[in-house]
Amino acid sequence: MSNNLTNLLARKGIDNNLFERVQYEITSNGSLSSNSVKQLAEDYLIGKSNILGTASFYDFLKPKNFGKKAYVCSGTACLLAGKQDLVHSKLLDHFDQSEIGEICCLGRCHENAAFQHDLSNYSGTAIDQLAEIIDGTASFNNQDKYHQEAIIADPLLMSPITDLHDYYELLLSMQKKSKDELVHQVIESGLRGRGGAGYPIGLKMKACKQASGDRKYIVCNADEGDPGSYSDRFLLEQYPHAVLFGMLASGYISGATQGVLYIRAEYPETIKIIEKAVNEYYAIRKTLGLEFSFDFKIIEGAGSYVCGEETALLASIEGQRPEVRIRPPFPTDFGLYGKPTLVNNVETLANLHYILENGADAFSSIGKATSTGTKLICLDSFFKRPGVYEVPFGMPLQEVIRQIGRGFKIPVKALHIGGPLGGVIPSSAWDTLTLDFESFEMAGYSLGHASFISIPSTFPMIRYLEHLFAFTAHESCGKCFPCRLGSQRGMELLQKSQKEKEAISKVLFTDLLETLELGSLCGLGSGLPLPVRNILTHFSEELRPYFKNE
C-alpha cells in the first residue's frame, strides 16, 4: 500500500480504475504483454513493477490459470464432503489435466461437488450431466436451490420486497430527518458488523460522516471468501435491493456519492443479478425525487481471500497490490483513493432498511445483549436440512443443529463455525453455547460469519489442521512476517508430521501460534490460532501421535 500510488490512481478515478484495466488486459489477451505493462504504467504514471505486482497477486490472473476450462472447488465443505476427486475425475473425461484448475469455495456448501465451467457454477449432481453442460444442452438452470427459512415471525432480512418503488421511498422519509438523527438511530440499534469482526456500524458511519473530504465512498464488501459461507451470496442474489438500499442510506447519511460493490469473481451469477438490480434502481431513481446523487460501481474480484480484509479490499479496487495496510489511518478517514470510506459487509448493509424503517428499538429488541437483531446462518451438506436461515441472536446452538438443521446425515465430531478463522466446537460443547457474539467469545470461540462446517468423525483432525494452515499460507498477502512465514512453516510442520512421521515439537508449535496471534497485522494470521487451539485442546488424544514433548 502506497499513498503515492493511491494518489496517482485516484487521478483516473473509479471508472477508469487500474484493477479492471489489468483484468481486461489479461482476460482479453490471455496474458499481460510487456507492451500492455508499459502502456498501463505510462497511463497511470506508475511503475511497470507496480502493474506486475498487482497482476501477480490474484489467483485468476496468474499465468498458471491461463487456459483453464474448468475449476474444482477446493473449499472446506467440498474437501470434507470428499467429492473433489470424483468431480476432478469426471472433468478429466472432457478436459486435459492442465485445463482444470482449483477455485476456493464457490459457496455451494449445501450440496458440494462444486465446479465452475465457462463462468457458471455447478454443484450437487450437476457433474453427472457434464457432457450436456459442456455442449450447452443441459436442461437445468444452474442457479442452485437450497432451503431458505426465517426462524422468526417477522424477519428482518428475509421478508419479501413486494414493491421496489415503495421500498426505496424510505429514502424520501429519511430526507426529512436530520442526518445526526439517522446516525443516532443506527448507533442505538446496536447493529454490529456481520462480516466477522462485529464492530458497531453506527460508530463507523458517524466517523465517516464527520470525516472531511471532497468525496466519500461506500464500499460493500461482497468478497465472501470464508469457505462454508454462502449467506452473502444468498442476500445478493435474493435480496439485492436490500444491499443497494443499505449502501444508499449509508451514502446519504455520511455524505458519500459513490458506492462500490466488490463482488468475488467466484460468484459470476451473483454479479449479473446485482448488475440487473442496479439498473432497476436507476430506473426507479428517475421518479423517486431524491435530493442526493449516488452511483454504483461493481468491481469483480480476481481470486484472493485477503481482499475480504477491508484495507486490502480498498487497495484492490484502486489497482494496488491488495496487501493489508496498517491502521491508523482507518478507512473512514483515509479509505478508497485516500477519501473517507465506509466499508461494510453485505448482511450488515441489508439490515439498514429495517432499522431505518422500524426504528432502533424494534431492531435492538431482537437478539441478546450486544448481539442485536438476527443472523443469517448457513448449514453445510452434512446437515439433514442444509440451507440459509435467519435466526434471532441468542438461539441455543443445539436448537440450530437439531431443529433447524434436523441433525446430521453422518456422525460429526465438531462444527467449524464462522469460516476458517472461526471456532472449532467439539460435539461435547454444543450444549453450552448460544448463537451470539458473547457466548462464543466467552467460551473461546468466534462466531465470525456464522457459517456451519461439519467435520465428520472420520475426518482426521491433523489433516484439518493442515488444511487450515495451507489455506492461510495460500491466502496470506505476505505483508507481515508472522503470517507470511508462520503459515508456511506451520503447514510444513503438519505435512511432515504426516508424511515423514516427524512429530512436531509442542513448544515450537505453541510459540508459532503465539507469534501468529500476537504478531500478525490482520485477522488472517492472528485469527488462525483460535481454531487451531480449539482443535489441539479438544482433540489432543487424536493428535497425540503427531506431537512430541521435549
Binding site: 497477486f57 496498517i326 512453516r489
Partner: protein
C-alpha cells in the same frame, strides 16, 4: 519516577512505569526511539525517513490504558499513544515474540554470515543478536535460496536470496525518490521483489539513487562499495559538490581512501537521501588522470615542474604583464565548485593584490541573470525561501528547470509534492519528468519565456487575481506595469510562444489563486538573450500575487553548481565585491579598503565572455582559471580557443587535464573537495561545512592555499589557508555573514543572513525588501538575435540541458562508473522531425549551426516538440558547445545556450 522536560501541556505516556512526554503526532516507535536507547526496540522494516511499515512486527510492545490494566500487544510503529498510556517493552511475552519472529525470518535466509559482505553491518544480524536467538528449530522447508544475483549495474547489486521482504526498498523507491522501480510481486510466502519489468537493475528505469541500498537491512539490495564498509575507520560528514541542493554526505574512510558514501538522516538539506552522483560518483578523486604536480609549457609541451619553480614563473610573468600593460590586462575566473573561502581569496588576490576587478565566475554562464534580475526586483539575488517550503506550499511553478536530473533531491521532493496532489505548473519546452506529473505543462518554443510569462501576468491582472494590499504596501511600479501589460496582444503572444492561451490562463489562475505559491527556476530562464528579464517576470508573478516573505512562497533559483550562490556572495563578479558592495562607489569601496589595507580598483572589470573578446583584441594578456573548462563549457568554443591562443599567460588550476589545458602555459594541480575544508552555500542560502575527508593527493594543493601562496609571494601577507580565519574575515565585511563562524555552522549550517547572535533566516523579505519596495517592471518580448539572423538557414532550435548521471563538463563524473551508465551525449529528436529527416534511434547526424558542426547520435523522443532538438554537453568528443550561440543576455552577459539555430543532416548508422 518521571523523565519530564517540564512542559505541563504535554501528554504523558509511561515506558515501564516511567513517565515521558509524547510529541504530537508521533507514533509509539518514534517515541520509544527518542526516549530509549535505539537498540532497545528492534525493528527490521523502519527507517527514519519512511512511513511506518508494519511488516516485521519486531517493534511490538505491550500497551495498557492504566498501570495494571489489560495489556495488548501492539506494533509500536503504527500505534499512536494517548495521555496516560503505559508501554511495557521487555516483558517475557514480548521478548519471546521478537525472538520467535527472528527465528521465522532465519528459516528463509541463507546462514552464510561468515562469507556475506554485510557481515558486521547487517541489521538482521544485529537484531538476531539483540533478541538472543541461538538456533532455528524449524526443519528445513521451502526457501528463496535459489535466486540469482544481479550484478548487471555499475553500482547497484541484488541478491534476493537474502531478502526478508521488509518492503523498505519498495517504500524508499516510492516515498523518497518517487520512481516506482521496485515492487513486490506474487503473494504470501512466494512474494518477492522485482525491478521494473522483472528485470535486472541495469535494464530497469532505475535512477540509481541508492535509496533502496541505504535502507536494506541485509545484503539483498546493495552496491559495489558495501563490501568494504566494514573496514572503515571513520565516517566524516561533508557536503556534495554536484549541485546546489547541498546534500550532506557521510563519507566512510579507511586508510585515507574513500570506501563508501551514504546520506545522513539528520541532514536538514537532504534528510537521508541523495542521488547517483552524490552517493556513487566519487572515484574520480583517485583516478590515474588526477594531476599530481604543477606543469609549465616549455617548447610547446606541458612539462612537470615543482611548485617553487611554477610559482616563480607565475610571479615573474604576472609581474611583467602588470608592469607592461597594467593590472586590467590580467583576469581571473573563479569557480562555483570551490569553497566560499577559496572564492573569497581568489577575488581578494585579483583585486587587492593584482589590482583589477577582472574577476568573474562560472555563474556568469548560468545564474548571473538570476542575481541581476532578483536584485532589481527584490534587492537581493538569492532564493527567497527554503526547500523545506515545498511541504508548505499549495502550488509549485517550475520554469526552465529539470530538477529530477539536475537537482535530483529537490526534484524528487517536487515530484513527491505533485504526486501527493499539490498543484504543479511546468514551463519548459521539453516534457521533463516533472512535466509528466504536472497539472499544466506549458511547452513553449525555446526563447519565449518573456512572452509566455507576460501572458500569465496579463491574465492575472485582467482577472484581478492580484494581491492588492501587498502591491500597495510592498511594491512600486504597478500602475505603469498594469497599463502596459493590458496593452499586450494575447493573440500575438500566443503565436510567439506556441502555447494555447486557455492552458496559460488556467495555469495563471492556479498560481494566482493558490493560498501560497512558490516558483523554482533554472537555466531555462537565465540562459537567454532575455534571461535577466525572464527572471524579473518570474519575480513579478510573486510580487503581484503577494507570494513573497511567507512560508511556501517566493522565487527560488535552482543553482546549478554546488556553490553558485556562495561564489557570488564572495564577490566573484566584476562589479561587486564580497557582500555585493559596488566598487565604483567610493563609500562602498572603502569597506574593502579598510580591511584589505590597499586601494581597490574602482571600475567594473570584465565578465567572462568579455574576457575572451578582450583576449582576441589583445587587451587581455593573462587569464587565471580556477576550476573551469572554458573550452568545453563556454559557447562557441572555436572563438574561445582563438581568444585563449592570444594570451601571454593562461594559468589553469584543475583536477585533470581538460579541453582548456592545451592552451595553458601553466597547469596547477588542485585538491578535490574531499581533500580540503571550507564552506559551500547551497541554493537556499545555507552555508554548510565542507570537511576534509582525506589529505590532498601527494603534490597537490587546495585552491585556497594556492591563492594564499601567490599573495604571499606577491608581498601581501596571508596566513595559510584555513576556513576559520577566512570566514572570520568574511564576517567583518559581508553583512549577511555577520554571525557566521566555523564553529557556529554546526552540522546543518546556517541560512544567511546570519545575525550577530548566530540566528539565521529561512525566508527573506518578510517585512520589507532589501531596497525598500519590490519593483514591478514591464518587459516586452524580443525575439533572440540568433533566430532573427539564422532561423532561415538553420530551421531547428537546439536547447541544451543536463543528464542525471553527469555533472557539467563531466570532468569528474566521466572518471567514475557514471560513464558506464551514460557514455555519450544523445540528441533528442521529435518523431515528426525524425520522419522528415529519415532518422531512427542511434542514427548519427551532423548538427550544424552558424558557428560550426559536430556529430552526434539521435534518439527519437516525445520529450521535445517538432522543430526542437535537445542534448547534453558532458562529452568533449561531441563538444556541442562548438555550435552553441554566443548571443548574450542583454543585462548580465549570460550566453544563450538554450536557443541555438541548427540544422540536421543524417550520416547514417555507424
Amino acid at each position: 519516577m518521571n523523565n519530564l522536560r517540564g512542559n505541563s501541556m504535554k501528554k504523558i505516556a509511561y515506558i515501564d512505569d516511567t513517565a515521558y512526554e509524547i510529541e504530537v503526532g508521533e507514533n509509539a516507535l518514534r517515541f520509544l526511539q527518542r526516549e530509549m536507547d535505539q537498540s532497545q526496540i528492534p525493528t527490521l522494516c523502519d527507517a527514519p525517513h519512511l512511513s511506518p511499515g508494519g511488516s516485521c512486527r519486531l517493534c511490538s510492545v505491550e500497551l495498557a490504558k492504566t498501570k495494571n490494566g489489560k495489556r495488548n500487544v501492539v506494533a509500536s510503529c503504527h500505534t499512536y499513544l494517548q495521555d496516560g498510556d503505559h508501554l511495557y517493552i521487555h516483558t517475557d511475552r514480548i521478548k519471546r515474540l521478537r525472538k520467535n519472529i527472528v527465528e521465522l525470518i532465519l528459516t528463509d535466509h541463507p546462514l552464510d554470515c561468515e562469507t556475506c559482505h554485510q557481515n558486521g553491518t547487517c541489521q538482521l544480524q544485529t537484531v538476531a543478536a539483540t533478541v538472543g536467538l541461538e538456533k532455528v528449530r524449524y526443519p528445513e522447508g521451502k526457501t528463496h535460496g535459489n535466486y540469482q544475483q544481479d550484478l548487471s549495474h555499475p553500482y547497484l547489486t541484488a541478491d534476493l536470496s537474502k531478502c526478508i521482504n521488509c518492503n523498505m526498498c519498495v517504500r524508499a523507491c516510492d516515498e523518497i525518490q518517487g520512481e516506482f522501480i521496485l515492487s513486490m510481486v506474487g503473494r504470501g510466502f512466494d512474494s518477492r521483489i522485482i525491478k521494473g519489468m522483472d528485470t535486472v537493475f541495469k535494464d530497469s528505469d532505475c535512477v540509481s539513487c541508492g535509496a533502496c541500498v541505504q535502507v536494506c537491512p541485509t545484503a539483498a539490495i546493495s552496491d559495489i562499495f558495501a563490501p568494504l564498509e566494514k573496514n572503515a575507520d571513520k565516517k566524516i560528514r561533508t557536503v556534495c559538490t554536484y549541485c546546489g541542493v547541498g546534500c550532506n554526505l557521510e563519507v566512510a574512510v579507511a586508510d585515507e581512501r574513500i570506501i563508501r558514501i551514504s546520506a545522513p538522516y539528520e541532514a536538514e538539506a537532504n534528510q537521508g537521501h541523495t542521488c547517483v552522483k552524490g552517493r556513487y560518483a566519487f572515484q574520480f578523486y583517485q583516478h590515474p588522470d588526477r594531476l599530481r604536480h604543477p606543469m609549465i609549457r616549455k617548447n610547446g609541451e606541458l612539462v612537470p615542474s615543482t611548485w617553487d619553480e611554477t610559482y616563480d614563473y607565475i610571479i615573474e610573468k604576472l609581474g611583467s604583464i602588470k608592469s607592461d600593460y597594467g593590472p586590467d590586462a590580467i583576469a581571473g575566473i573563479s569557480s562555483a565548485r570551490c569553497t566560499n573561502e577559496e572564492n573569497y581569496l581568489m577575488q581578494k588576490m585579483m583585486r587587492a593584490v593584482i589590482g583589477t576587478n577582472n574577476i568573474d565566475g562560472c555563474a556568469r554562464i548560468c545564474h548571473a541573470p538570476t542575481a541581476a534580475g532578483m536584485q532589481r526586483a527584490f534587492g537581493t539575488g538569492a532564493a527567497t525561501n527554503s526547500i523545506a517550503d515545498i511541504q508548505h506550499t499549495n502550488c509549485i511553478l517550475v520554469v526552465g528547470a529539470n530538477p529530477t536530473n539536475a537537482h535530483p533531491v529537490t526534484g524528487a521532493k517536487i515530484k513527491q509534492a505533485a504526486i501527493q496532489g499539490k498543484n504543479l505548473i511546468v514551463i519548459d519546452p521539453r516534457k521533463t519528468e516533472l512535466a509528466r506529473y504536472a497539472n499544466y505543462h506549458l511547452a513553449l518554443r525555446p526563447g519565449t519565456n518573456v512572452a509566455l510569462l507576460n501572458m500569465m501576468l496579463r491574465f492575472i491582472v485582467e482577472e484581478e487575481l492580484i494581491d492588492q494590499e501587498f502591491i500597495q504596501t510592498r511594491c512600486e511600479g504597478f500602475e505603469e506595469f498594469k497599463l502596459k501589460i493590458l496593452n499586450l496582444d494575447i493573440t500575438e503572444l500566443e503565436k510567439i510562444c506556441g502555447v494555447d492561451r486557455k492552458l496559460v490562463r488556467a495555469a495563471a489562475i492556479t498560481y494566482a489563486t493558490a493560498s501560497t505559491a512558490m516558483s523554482f527556476h533554472g537555466l531555462g530562464v537565465t540562459e537567454h538573450s532575455q534571461g535577466t528579464f525572464g527572471v524579473m517576470l518570474v519575480a513579478n508573478l510573486a510580487l503581484l500575487t503577494g507570494n513573497i516573505g511567507k512560508p511556501g512562497s517566493g522565487v527560488n533559483p535552482l543553482r546549478g553548481q554546488n556553490n553558485v550562490q556562495g561564489a557570488a556572495d564572495m564577490g566573484v563578479q566584476p562589479h561587486q565585491g564580497p557582500g555585493y558592495f559596488d566598487l565604483s562607489d567610493p563609500a562602498q569601496r572603502a569597506i574593502y579598503e579598510d580591511i584589505y589595507k590597499v586601494d581597490m580598483p574602482d571600475h567594473p572589470g570584465l565578465t567572462i565572455p568579455k574576457m575572451f573578446e578582450a583576449a582576441l583584441t589583445g587587451q587581455l594578456k593573462a587569464l587565471w582559471i580556477m576550476g573551469e573548462d572554458v573550452v568545453q563549457t563556454e559557447p562557441n568554443s572555436d572563438k574561445v580557443k582563438a581568444g585563449l591562443r592570444k594570451l601571454d599567460l593562461l594559468i589553469v588550476q584543475e583536477l585533470f587535464l581538460s579541453a582548456t589545458t592545451p592552451f595553458a602555459h601553466v597547469v596547477l594541480p588542485a585538491a578535490s573537495f574531499f581533500e580540503k575544508n571550507g564552506t559551500f552555500t547551497n541554493g537556499e542560502r545555507r552555508i554548510q561545512k565542507v570537511r576534509q575527508i582525506i589529505p590532498p593527493l601527494q603534490g597537490v594543493k587546495s585552491d585556497g592555499q594556492i591563492a594564499v601562496d601567490i599573495m604571499n609571494r606577491m608581498g601581501y601577507s596571508q596566513p595559510d589557508y584555513n576556513p576559520e580565519w577566512v570566514l572570520d574575515e568574511i564576517a567583518t565585511i559581508v553583512p549577511f555573514f555577520k554571525g557566521v563562524s566555523w564553529e557556529r555552522l554546526g552540522e546543518n549550517g546556517l541560512q544567511w543572513p546570519v545575525m550577530e547572535d548566530g540566528s539565521d533566516s529561512k525566508i527573506l523579505h518578510k517585512m520589507a525588501f532589501t531596497h525598500g519596495k519590490g519593483k514591478i517592471h514591464f518587459i516586452d518580448f524580443k525575439e533572440s538575435p540568433e533566430l532573427i539572423m539564422h532561423a532561415k538557414k538553420f530551421p531547428y532550435i537546439l536547447t541544451t540541458n543536463r543528464s542525471l548521471e553527469h555533472y557539467n563538463s563531466g570532468s569528474m563524473t566521466r572518471r567514475t562508473n557514471e560513464n558506464l551508465l551514460v557514455y555519450e551525449d544523445i540528441l533528442l529528436v521529435n518523431k515528426e522531425d525524425a520522419q522528415d529527416k529519415n532518422l531512427v534511434d542511434n542514427d548519427w547526424v551532423i548538427i550544424s549551426s552558424p558557428r560550426g558542426s559536430t556529430k552526434i547520435r539521435i534518439k527519437v523522443s516525445d520529450q521535445v516538440n517538432p522543430g526542437i532538438v535537445s542534448t547534453t554537453f558532458h562529452f568533449p568528443e561531441i563538444l556541442i558547445n562548438k555550435i552553441t550561440s554566443d548571443v548574450l543576455d542583454s543585462e548580465a552577459d549570460c550566453p544563450e545556450y538554450k536557443v541555438v539555430a541548427v540544422d540536421l543532416e543524417r550520416i547514417g548508422f555507424k
